[in-house]
Structure formats: structure tokens, C-alpha cells
């Protein structure tokens, strides 16, 4: 496996009205699966949006596949895939129409896209719905279409933002397996989530951010020995300093009994 860096950032920062990312330094090697973890509002989505070229103005430097994000945005976009978090797609279209449209934006061959799309939909058990409009789809069904749309051009880096939300248990296992096999074929995967469960199992390395700062970076075992605790979830609560769950639950129960 090659050891070249496919994603690097130096002092990556982003400020809206407040600072949402503060001096993030990443070095991600080809063929790695990175779990990018943090609570809501930690800056996960902002990082991904910068790395995929959606947010063009930021501070610091970043390169993807050796291209400077500011200068060669289109070159990068051609080679990466992005799966956004909140099921944004054109719902009035059918999955095949939508995927065909996406294929056109990458200048893919029309008939090839359509066969590919139909086969991928079939694998995801959406074969019977490939010609019906997505307005009627459940969240999980839309998420499957999004996953296909993000990968149909066979990208070498995949950015996933909460990719499993709404999927049923079987689909979750399927996606996990797909990601593992993608890694084996040399793809790099940048997986962002606030759910520990899956990340723990598939990631080579886990990066934890909180309030725009990177607070941990290492393999699960490394982080684990640092925190000396069993599950990643507990570790996560320890690292982000969120020990109040128990007392919050206690309060909740006692308020219910108030007269």
C-alpha cells in the first residue's frame, strides 16, 4: 500500500460569525479509512465542505490528491465523491433520472451510467422503485440513492457525512462491507459521524474534534489505552468532557414526578 498523503491541511481555519474551525492539521494517507468524530456543531461538516471545494473561502492551506483546493477545485471535484448529510436531492425526479443527471455533470457515458445506476439500485433493493419519484421515498431509500450518486463516477476519495442515517440494519451492514472493500481496492474514505458504533469497527484511524479543535488523533487502540475505558462511546464522552449524562437523566426523571 502506498504511503503518500492524499489529504493534507495546514492550520485550516474557518470563521463565520464565530470561529468554527481552528488550526486543523490533517495528514491522511491513501487507502485509509478515517473516522472523523465530534458532537453536533463541532465543525465536521464544515471541514468536509472545505475539502470538497463547496466552501471556497477559508484560512490556512489544504491539498487533496496533490491539488491545491483554492486553485484546482474542478480537478479535485472530478476525483472525489461526497455524500451530504441531510438527504438533499431533487425529489421530484426518479432515482434513474437523478443519477443520469449526476452522471452528465461528470461527462459520463449515458447508457453506461444508466446500466450502472439500475444495477446499483438493484443491489440496494431499490430495483422496483427505480422509475418512481423520490417524493414518496423514506429517508433510508433517499440515503441509498445519495450513496450511489456520490460514488457513481468511481472516485478515489470518498467523503461521507453521516452516511448511515435512516438506513435499516441490513443496509447498514451492507454499507459497512462496501466501505471496507472499497478500502481494500485502494480508495480513501473520510467518514464523519457522531455515532461511535460503526466508526469504531471500520476506521483505521479516528480523529476527534470538538468546538473546531482537533482533540485526539490515533487508532482506536491508541485512543483506548489513553482513555482506559471499554467502548468508544464512553471514551468519546470522556474526551469531550461530557460526563453529565447520568445526572441529566436523573433530573429528567425527577421533573416528571413534579406536581
Amino acid at each position: 500500500m502506498s504511503t503518500t498523503n492524499v489529504i493534507t491541511t495546514q492550520n485550516l481555519s474557518k470563521t463565520y460569525s464565530a470561529k468554527v474551525l481552528n488550526n486543523i492539521n490533517l495528514e491522511i494517507k491513501s487507502g485509509e479509512i478515517i473516522g472523523y468524530i465530534g458532537p453536533n456543531g463541532a465543525g465536521k461538516s464544515t471541514t468536509i465542505k472545505i475539502l470538497t471545494g463547496i466552501i471556497p473561502d477559508f484560512d490556512g492551506d489544504a491539498t487533496v490528491l496533490g491539488f491545491d483546493i483554492r486553485k484546482d477545485t474542478l480537478e479535485i471535484k472530478r476525483r472525489i465523491g461526497y455524500i451530504p448529510e441531510n438527504a438533499a436531492l431533487y425529489e421530484t425526479l426518479t432515482p434513474v433520472e437523478y443519477l443520469h443527471f449526476i452522471g452528465q455533470l461528470y461527462s459520463l457515458d449515458k447508457t453506461q451510467t444508466e446500466t450502472k445506476a439500475n444495477e446499483l439500485l438493484r443491489v440496494f433493493e431499490l430495483g422496483n422503485h427505480s422509475e418512481s419519484r423520490m417524493t414518496t421515498f423514506s429517508k433510508g431509500m433517499k440515503q441509498k440513492v445519495l450513496l450511489i450518486a456520490g460514488m457513481i463516477h468511481n472516485p478515489s476519495i470518498l467523503f461521507l457525512d453521516e452516511p448511515l442515517s435512516g438506513l435499516d440494519a441490513n443496509a447498514v451492514i451492507l454499507v459497512k462491507e462496501i466501505l471496507t472493500q472499497l478500502k481494500q481496492s485502494g480508495k480513501t474514505i473520510f467518514y464523519s459521524s457522531h455515532i461511535m458504533d460503526v466508526v469504531e469497527k471500520i476506521s483505521d484511524r479516528i480523529i476527534i474534534i470538538n468546538k473546531g479543535e482537533m482533540i485526539a488523533n490515533g487508532t482506536y487502540a491508541e485512543l483506548n489505552s489513553q482513555a482506559q475505558s471499554g467502548s468508544l462511546e464512553q471514551l468519546f464522552t470522556e474526551i469531550t468532557g461530557n460526563k453529565e449524562h447520568q445526572s441529566a437523566a436523573g433530573q429528567f426523571i425527577s421533573i416528571l414526578g413534579n406536581k
Binding site: 463565520y16 470538497t52 471545494g53 463547496i54 474542478l74 471535484k77 472530478r78 461526497y82 451530504p84 441531510n86 438533499a88 436531492l89 431533487y90 421530484t92 425526479l93 433520472e97 443527471f101 449526476i102 452528465q104 455533470l105 461528470y106 461527462s107 419519484r133
Partner: protein, 557 residues
């Protein structure tokens, strides 16, 4: 062949133009094609037929309806002898329609942020995406203008000649630009000062106005037809005319038609040419970047500054005060407060109910305008008529529409709590609902109507206003009692029975006949009228009691 395909063929003709401008034509075509497809599947708010019926060619439907409007407009142009008046009328019509459609049907596209997440991560450069959006809007407006002005244009060519028609078409294009500019500028202005939520509210009110304007135009235009024919109308230019865009176009065409070369006409013509073209330049170079920047900020969650606690407390105190006074127990109060708040907040429900306010206005005018008297004669004669009866009972429209619409909502699934909570007397919820409709919607409008009546007919109409007030509540109760009893916000909009509209109207008139007729008979004797008020209150009490006693078995689900 579908309209979209024709448009795309047309686009293919101009692809050289796009390529020289440095745009990736294949991507642009794909984006425009997909947007046209989506336009056709989008529900067009104003002409929605059945909610559960998938619209196939919604946009073509709209065009057809606009073309039918075109017949009226063409007839109107034919009937007006004065060039300038007919042209001002036509260009007002075009500009208002374009601006209104942009705001109502197109704002969802203009403010669409899904492009940000769907197209931006793909290898599409910013220029191509921007030009694709622009092309899409241009194609949409092009079709719209064609639909609106095809018949009127033929009429213009027929009436004023071919040369005039050429100038007319140039003015048409310029006026469409002007309307787009004004809309754009308005959006920017609102977005500058208001949050996304506020903007949506503003758009909601425009949609309501649009619905009323359609109805009003349909009712009033034919009645106004006769007015300009007889008078030898001379158009004199006042200073404020320079501020009204349709008058620029009218003035310019008058200059060309009669070779009327004087200062006012030259100024009007110059404004008509310079403003749209100059505005286009300014929009392109300065406003569009600002607009796009604002737009990309729309999707990201901007926290709304919460209302100060005092403001909130005051508002909820007012509602609490009212609900404590008009309701008798906690079920009724809960229903009253829920319906009261929903009537003020839910955009879809507002869009269905609030146009009734406009209809009251329109019908108020329609019934008043009779014969060929002009408006001031009618107005001066008003105190001698018994027209206030019409006004008092016309106000009932709002209650009736609200009562009909309040059971239906897209969030009907949220009504599970009616069955899970221990509600033993659903009638209390119904009565709370009726009271909320009366207090929140009817009373404010009735107050305005009452003020108008007092102004025109004087203090002697006070007894009628009072009697009418209680009568209106009585009629609302009668209709609620006779009609289907459905709890508020529990039904899917698709469950609505459209066929019953005519019967519903007849039923309403019958229910109004007895109390209204009584009012009419007794109005000669104010003392008896006032003496009857306790009888009215008694009737209200009895009906309300039986309505409150409604059992679950009588409730429709």
C-alpha cells in the same frame, strides 16, 4: 413533443454562444433540462387541482389559463380607443403578472439552496452553474410572457398596425426586464433586513394577494369594461407618472404612434429604455454577486434572535386573557389556543383562508358597482341605501372559509393526541375551535367593517352592527352544528370533498336566510332590534350547549 424538448432544441441552436462565453454547454444543458422537468412536476400553488394527483404538466396548465386571461385583455385593448390608456393597462398587467409569478411560483426556485449541496460538489464551475440558473429563469419568463401576451399582441397588430406591433414587442421585452429588476431589488432589500423565515412570510402574503388579485380581476375587469369607452379620455401626465413603469411604456408608444415629440414623452421614453437596460447592467455586475452570496448563506442555520422575554410574555398574556374569558374549561381552552395560534402562523392554512379577506373587499365592490354610475356618485349615494346589510353579512365569508379549512393540514398525523389523551367530550374541542375562528379572524375584520359603516351611515347604524355581530356568531354556530363535525387539524388535505362546494354554498345561504331575514324585517324599528338581542343570546347559548355535547360517535375521522 413536450414543451421542454422544444425549449432544449431552441437552446441547442444557441450553444455556440454559450461555448464562446466559456460555459460547459453539456453540463448547462443537463442542469437546465433537469430544472425544466422539475418545473413541470412542481405543484403550482394557484391552480392546484387535487392534491394527491401527480401533476404531469403543471406549467402547461398555467400557460393555458394565462392565455385565456389573454382573451379578456385583448378584448379590453380593443374596447379602449385611447392608445396610451390601453397600453398602460396592458403593460401594468404584464408587469404585475410577471412580478407576482416570480414571487409566488418562482421564489422556491430563486431561493433554492439544494443546488448548493447537489451541484456544487460536482465538477461544475461557478460560471456554468450561474449561467444555467439564468437561462432557466429566462426560458421560464419567455414562456410566461408568450402565454400572457400572444392574444393581446395579435390584437395590437390588428388594431394599430404592424409597425406599432414591432415597437410594442420591444417595449414588451423591456417591461419584462423592468419587472424582473424590481422583483430582484425587492428580494435583495427584504433579504438584507429580514431573516429567511421573514422572507418566507412576505412571500406567503404575496401569494395571498395574488390569489385575491386573480379573483378580483376576474370579477371586476368585465364590469369596468364600459367605463373608458364613452368618455373621450385624455391622458394628462402628472409628475408622479414618471415613477410608474407601465406609464413609461405607454408614453413611449404614444410618442411613436402620434409622433408626439414633447418633453414629457421624451422623458418617459428615455426612462423606459434606460431603466431596464441600465438596471440589467447593475444587476449583472453588482447585485447578482450579493444575491448569490446571501443565497449561499440561506441554507446554513442562522440562529434567529429570539424575541425578548417581555414581548413573548405580553403576547401570551393577551391570548391567555382572551381564552380565559371566552372558554369554560381546559379542553375548550386548549383547542381555542391551538387554533388561534395556528390561524396566525401556519402558512398553508393562511394561504387558504386569508384570501377570503380580499374576497370580502372584492365582492363589497362588485355588489356596489351597478349600472354606469361612476364611483363618486355611488359613494355619495351610499348613505341612502341599505348596503350596510351586504357588508355585515359579507364578512361571514371569512368564518365560513375558516370553518371549512381548519380540519385539513399536512401535519394531520400530529393529531394522534386526540385519541391518546383522555378526551371525553370532543364537543368542547369543537366549540373552542369555533370560538377561535370567530375571535381571531372574524372580529378584527368586523371591527373594520363596523368602523366603515359608522363612518358612512352614522351612529344610527349602531343597532344593526350589534345585532349583526351576534347574528354572525349564531349563523357560524348553526353551520358548524349542521355540517360535518371534524376536529381541527386532523384530516389530510386529500380527504377534502371538492364536489360539495356548490351544496355547501346553498346550505350556507339557507342558514343565513332566517337570522338575516329577521334582521332585515326588524331594522326599521331599532328598539325592537335591540330588544331581540337577548333572544339571540339565548339561541346562541342553547346551540352552543348542544354543540359542546357532541360525542365521539358524531365526530368524523
Amino acid at each position: 413533443m413536450k414543451i421542454e424538448n422544444i425549449l432544449l432544441k431552441f437552446l441547442d441552436f444557441t450553444q455556440g454562444l454559450y461555448r464562446t462565453a466559456g460555459v460547459n454547454y453539456e453540463q448547462l444543458r443537463a442542469i437546465v433540462a433537469i430544472k425544466l422537468t422539475m418545473d413541470n412536476r412542481r405543484q403550482v400553488m394557484s391552480y392546484k387541482k387535487k392534491e394527491n394527483q401527480e401533476p404531469g404538466n403543471a406549467f402547461a396548465m398555467t400557460l393555458l389559463i394565462y392565455s385565456i386571461f389573454g382573451i379578456f385583455v385583448a378584448a379590453f385593448i380593443y374596447s379602449i380607443p385611447s392608445v396610451v390608456v390601453s397600453m398602460i393597462f396592458f403593460f401594468s398587467y404584464i408587469m404585475v403578472m410577471i412580478a407576482m409569478t416570480l414571487i409566488t411560483d418562482f421564489s422556491s426556485i430563486l431561493l433554492d439552496t439544494s443546488d448548493n449541496t447537489i451541484i456544487l460538489p460536482r465538477p461544475v464551475d461557478g460560471r456554468t452553474l450561474f449561467v444555467a440558473r439564468l437561462t432557466h429563469i429566462m426560458l421560464y419568463l419567455g414562456q410566461l410572457t408568450l402565454g400572457l401576451s400572444l392574444l393581446p399582441s395579435i390584437m395590437v397588430g390588428f388594431k394599430f398596425g404592424v409597425l406599432f406591433l414591432v415597437f410594442f414587442l420591444v417595449a414588451l421585452v423591456l417591461s419584462v426586464f423592468t419587472a424582473v429588476l424590481i422583483t430582484n431589488a425587492t428580494y435583495l432589500l427584504i433579504m438584507h433586513f429580514a431573516s429567511e423565515e421573514k422572507l418566507k412570510n412576505v412571500i406567503n402574503y404575496f401569494q395571498i394577494i395574488m390569489a385575491v388579485a386573480m379573483m378580483g380581476g376576474y370579477q371586476l375587469l368585465p364590469r369596468m369594461m364600459g367605463r373608458f369607452e364613452l368618455e373621450d379620455y385624455v391622458f394628462e401626465i402628472e409628475w408622479w407618472d414618471y415613477l410608474i413603469p407601465p406609464i413609461w411604456m405607454g408614453g413611449a408608444l404614444e410618442l411613436l404612434h402620434y409622433r408626439l415629440i414633447d418633453t414629457p414623452h421624451i422623458i418617459l421614453t428615455a426612462l423606459g429604455i434606460i431603466v431596464p437596460l441600465g438596471g440589467l447592467y447593475i444587476t449583472n455586475h453588482y447585485l447578482t454577486p450579493i444575491f448569490n452570496k446571501k443565497l449561499s448563506a440561506l441554507g446554513s442555520a442562522t440562529e434567529q434572535p429570539a424575541k425578548t422575554k417581555e414581548e413573548k410574555a405580553q403576547k401570551s398574556n393577551l391570548l391567555e386573557n382572551i381564552s380565559l374569558r371566552v372558554t369554560s374549561n381546559s379542553f375548550e381552552r386548549a383547542a381555542f389556543e391551538l387554533v388561534y395560534k395556528i390561524l396566525g402562523r401556519d402558512r398553508k392554512i393562511k394561504l387558504k383562508i386569508y384570501p377570503a379577506v380580499g374576497y370580502i373587499l372584492v365582492f363589497g365592490l362588485v355588489f356596489m358597482i351597478r349600472g354606469k354610475d361612476d364611483f363618486s356618485t355611488l359613494w355619495n349615494n351610499l348613505p341612502n341605501t341599505e348596503y350596510y346589510f351586504v357588508l355585515i353579512y359579507l364578512t361571514f365569508m371569512i368564518s365560513q372559509v375558516a370553518l371549512y379549512e381548519i380540519p385539513y393540514t399536512d401535519d394531520f398525523k400530529a393529531s394522534w393526541f386526540y385519541s391518546s389523551a383522555p378526551v371525553d367530550r370532543p364537543g368542547e374541542i369543537l366549540s373552542g375551535m369555533v370560538k377561535a375562528i370567530f375571535v381571531k379572524l372574524f372580529l378584527p375584520i368586523y371591527a373594520v367593517i363596523a368602523a366603515l359603516i359608522l363612518f358612512v351611515w352614522g351612529i344610527s347604524a349602531l343597532d344593526d352592527i350589534l345585532f349583526g355581530l351576534f347574528n354572525n356568531f349564531l349563523i357560524l354556530l348553526i353551520i358548524a352544528t349542521i355540517g360535518k363535525r371534524i376536529l381541527p387539524l386532523t384530516m389530510a388535505p386529500s380527504a377534502k370533498n371538492q364536489a360539495g362546494n356548490f351544496l355547501r354554498g346553498i346550505l350556507m345561504l339557507l342558514c343565513m336566510a332566517l337570522p338575516g331575514g329577521l334582521h332585515y324585517l326588524l331594522s326599521k324599528w331599532p328598539l325592537i332590534l335591540i330588544g331581540m338581542i337577548p333572544v339571540q343570546l339565548g339561541a346562541i347559548y342553547l346551540i352552543l350547549r348542544s354543540y359542546k355535547a357532541t360525542k365521539w360517535s358524531n365526530i368524523q375521522f
